[in-house]
């Protein structure tokens, strides 16, 4: 009953979204504001409606209505409530509905803003968000319906929305349960963050399209969406880092990133959004890079849809899976249409998007030029990622040969590019706008560069001979020194001019230009994450041994003694095999650790590592099932992962920095009045 209600609501919302888009566009062309307003209200209404449908599904999941195919496939009686609820995004159908729900929330929120100054944007922002929403709702309605029920017919079991003739309802007593890998606290937070990140980029894209259609191609659309973009970027980055943490914590292969196509699909929008955040600053300041910014935001939107397509259509496992599911071709067509439409709009406006400023005096070492260089480096990483994902599909289509493009390919290609970005992150903050030359950069950089010189020397003395590591650590030290130098310079200057002490000066300094100093904090966080990446990529060590009870193994100064092994069933049906290991470092007892090997009823094993984290390294112990585990002897794989904690620490600093930059202004309530009168005055002129 509730399933029918939920489905009915989705049908209504789908029609409403289509109406909203149509009304807004009709109103725009016929200059009838009533139609635009009608479209706006239609989009506004989608949020409460999709919320109702989503809540229906959540209720059905939480109460174990296994007669629904989706509920059956992702939940079971033994799952805790939080997992039953989060199973909303544990499978294909639910994920798509959840996507639609988040999008409707963003679309409605943006409809609620004050439009009086930007009324001409409204119809197209409404239309773009409504069309995107209608597309995702259509997937839920026609292909991946979460509300389909099981029926028993004479010929067997079928899943259908409508009761087939002569069929009786089929109500299983228990469900198949969630994929074991998804039964982790990371499940609560990682997918929503990633989806939020994905969905929030629809808004700046919608404004960009509105700017292109209406011809109001100044930086107004960028100023309006600046915070949307920052928040979206924050969510996306958090989603990525949480995914890394989840993989590190649960998958038991000693790493956090495996260059899996699904991971790369989530990374690609980030690779475009990051340079976008930088180049929009230049458009705001100097009116340059308008075309580039349009290209970047169009790419971000299409990569968001493309990423969802890659992970949802099954195309990654094989091209043939693409044809099996109707979802793949639908996505393909949608991406094609939106890409063609937005690119043709861009071409139409290409000349209007010429820079307002004469480039004449812009030097090659100005900040503008360095930002453009950074955009190129990001584009390089994007190309590597895109091609690495796409090529196996091309190969399968043309030569019918399945191939893998794996980590070595990406690491080799992307490593130097990230290194170069690190260098730019150090140099760019010191470069001057427009007139920067190598000389001015040198003059600004020599002071913070002095302590950096020590880094490779000290590292070399301590025996680190890996060239890549020396370069990497030096670059990171450079970024940190430059950033701290910038803070220090500002604090001293403020302290002198206003007579403030250091803390107060810092507070006011950041408060006066939160975007700038928030950005610097983010740079620091990237340097911290860079430490972890160099640590694990270049200095990870691993060994594997079978230990008899009482035996020990050694790695990186640690000694691990296998004490005992126990096996017991767990409430959710899995059999847990748990080893007890005593760990010593340089003779000092560190405690007991419990690596686990869980076997689920459907024969799916899961290795859960025991991890001892410190700032210098992680000891990562996995109980592997090789020759079979027995009470007297068990095989262990142990990793020493240097510096990996800095990845998680860096992510906290990152969140802090982004919040500093994106937090709404206090004076926002006062500002519109002033701006409004200024605007009126300018129009009156």
């Amino acid at each position: 009953m509730l399933a029918n209600f939920g489905f009915g609501i989705l049908v209504v919302t789908f029609l409403l979204a289509l109406f909203g888009a149509g009304a807004a566009i009709y109103g725009y062309f016929r200059k009838k504001d009533r139609w635009v307003e009608s479209g706006r209200r239609a989009v506004l209404l989608t949020f409460p409606l999709v919320t109702l449908a989503t809540l229906s599904l959540v209720y059905l999941l939480a109460t174990g209505h296994f007669e629904l195919r989706y509920v059956y496939s992702v939940t079971s009686n033994d799952m805790p409530l939080y997992l039953k609820v989060t199973a909303l995004w544990g499978g294909q159908e639910g994920s798509l509905l959840f996507w639609s729900w988040l999008l409707s929330a963003f679309a409605s929120a943006v409809m609620l803003r004050r439009w009086d100054r930007d009324r001409e944007f409204l119809p197209w922002v409404a239309a773009v968000t409504a069309i995107t929403l209608a597309f995702f709702l259509s997937l839920s309605l026609f292909f991946e319906n979460p509300f389909v029920s099981w029926w028993q017919t004479s010929s067997g079991q079928v899943a259908s929305m409508i009761r087939p003739a002569g069929a009786s309802p089929l109500i299983p007593t228990d469900g198949a349960g969630l994929n074991p890998l998804l039964r982790h606290p990371g499940m609560i937070i990682h997918p929503p963050m990633l989806y939020l990140g994905f969905v929030s980029f629809v808004i700046p894209f919608a404004f960009a399209i509105a700017a292109l259609v209406t011809g109001r191609t100044d930086d107004r659309w960028i100023r309006l969406t600046r915070r949307w973009t920052l928040w979206g970027w924050l969510f996306l980055t958090c989603g990525l880092v949480l995914g890394m943490w989840w993989a590190y914590d649960v998958l038991g292969w000693g790493g956090y990133w495996s260059w899996d196509p699904v991971e790369i699909a989530a990374l690609m929008p980030w690779l475009v959004a990051t340079p976008f955040l930088h180049t929009v600053m230049i458009q705001e300041k100097r009116g340059m890079f308008k075309q580039l910014n349009m290209i970047l935001i169009i790419l971000t939107y299409n990569l968001v849809i493309f990423g969802t397509f890659l992970t949802r259509s099954g195309v990654l496992s094989s091209v043939h899976a693409f044809a099996e599911s109707a979802l793949g071709p639908m996505f393909f067509v949608f991406i094609g249409i939106t890409l063609i439409a937005s690119v043709s709009l861009l071409i139409r406006r290409w000349n209007d998007l010429k820079s307002e400023t004469a480039f004449a005096s812009t030097s090659m070492f100005s900040r503008e030029a360095l930002f453009l260089l950074a955009a190129l480096l990001f584009a390089g990483i994007l190309i590597v990622c895109f091609w690495g994902i796409l090529f196996p599909l091309i190969s399968e289509i043309f030569t019918n040969q399945q191939i893998t493009v794996g980590p070595p390919f990406y690491k080799r290609a992307v490593g130097p590019l990230f290194g170069a970005l690190m260098l730019l992150m150090g140099v760019a903050p010191l470069s001057a706008w427009t007139y920067g030359t190598l000389k001015t950069i040198g003059r600004a950089a020599w002071k913070p560069a002095i302590p950096v010189v020590i880094v490779p020397v000290v590292l070399a003395i301590f025996g680190y001979r890996n060239v890549f590591a020396l370069i990497g650590f030096t670059l990171i030290a450079f970024v940190i020194c430059v950033t701290l130098y910038e803070f220090g310079r500002g604090i001293v200057a403020r302290g002198r001019s206003a007579g403030e002490n250091a803390i107060l000066a810092l507070w006011h300094l950041v408060g006066r230009n939160r975007r700038r100093y928030g950005g610097y904090i983010i740079h620091l966080s990237m340097a911290m994450m860079g430490l972890a990446i160099i640590g694990i990529e270049l200095f990870q060590t691993t060994t594997q041994q079978s230990l008899a009870t009482g035996d020990s193994m050694q790695i990186a100064g640690y000694s691990l003694r296998f004490d005992s092994l126990s096996q017991f069933p767990y409430v959710d049906g899995r059999t847990v095999t748990r080893a007890v290991m005593s760990v010593y470092k340089n003779g000092q007892y560190l405690g007991q650790f419990y690596p686990r090997y869980d076997m689920f009823p459907d024969d799916q094993p899961m290795t859960i590592p025991a991890i001892r984290s410190t700032l210098s390294d992680d000891l990562y112990i996995v109980l592997v099932d090789w020759e079979g585990i027995s009470a007297s002897e068990a095989p262990f794989k142990v990793y020493d992962n240097p510096l990996v904690s800095w990845l998680w620490l860096g992510s906290f600093v990152f969140i802090f920095g982004t919040l500093v930059a994106a937090w709404p202004d206090k004076e926002l309530s006062v500002a519109p009045v002033i701006v409004h009168s200024a605007y009126k005055a300018s129009v009156a002129d």
């Binding site: 038991g252 893998t404 001293v492 403020r494 060994t543 202004d665 701006v675």
Partner: protein
């Protein structure tokens, strides 16, 4: 004489070490030796899972196969080739650079070079000075140009670092200091 004894002694110790290691390798290759090869291969049945960390039973057997082949004295290249022959090129972490596969290695650097070239072209146009009239002539929507966003300084065509009032003051303070 004494020296000769020394040299012989050292040689003997070396020999003992070398043969000892060789003998230790012969019977059963260690897990680490197996992993060294398995980590370069991808599980032929699971998606995107390196063979050394794949928990499935099939992969256990494949690792055992690697161990046997190592014990038989097969080289790393032999073992990889065996897997490619039996399960196709997808077991390799990178496609062999033959035929169409060349594209995987050529396209990204080529595209990047195109990007570098475009950037070079852009920089070149920057250097050539353009008459100011060109800018003045470009059609704009003047009514939108003059609206400053709250909290930001109005944009002018020659905005430089000095234009940002706050930064200018900051720079000035710094100059006074030195």
């Amino acid at each position: 004489m004494k020296r000769l004894v020394w040299i012989l002694g050292i040689l003997l110790i070396f020999l003992a070490f070398a043969t000892g290691q060789a003998y230790a390798q012969q019977p059963t290759p260690s897990d680490d030796q197996v992993n060294a090869i398995a980590s370069q291969l991808f599980c032929p049945v699971c998606e995107n899972t390196p063979l050394d960390v794949c928990p499935t039973e099939a992969c256990q057997q494949w690792r055992e196969l690697i161990r046997q082949m190592l014990a038989q004295g097969k080289s790393e290249a032999d073992i990889k080739q065996y897997f490619v022959d039996h399960y196709g090129a997808r077991v390799l972490s990178e496609p062999p650079a033959t035929g169409l596969n060349w594209l995987v290695y050529i396209v990204p650097p080529a595209a990047f070079l195109v990007g570098v070239f475009l950037l070079y072209l852009a920089f070149r146009t920057w250097k050539q000075s353009r008459p100011a009239s060109v800018i003045a002539d470009t059609p704009m929507q003047p009514e939108w140009k003059t609206i400053p966003e709250s909290g930001s300084s109005p944009k002018t065509t020659d905005s430089t670092e000095e234009n940002d009032e706050y930064i200018a003051r900051l720079e000035e303070e710094l100059r006074k200091q030195s």
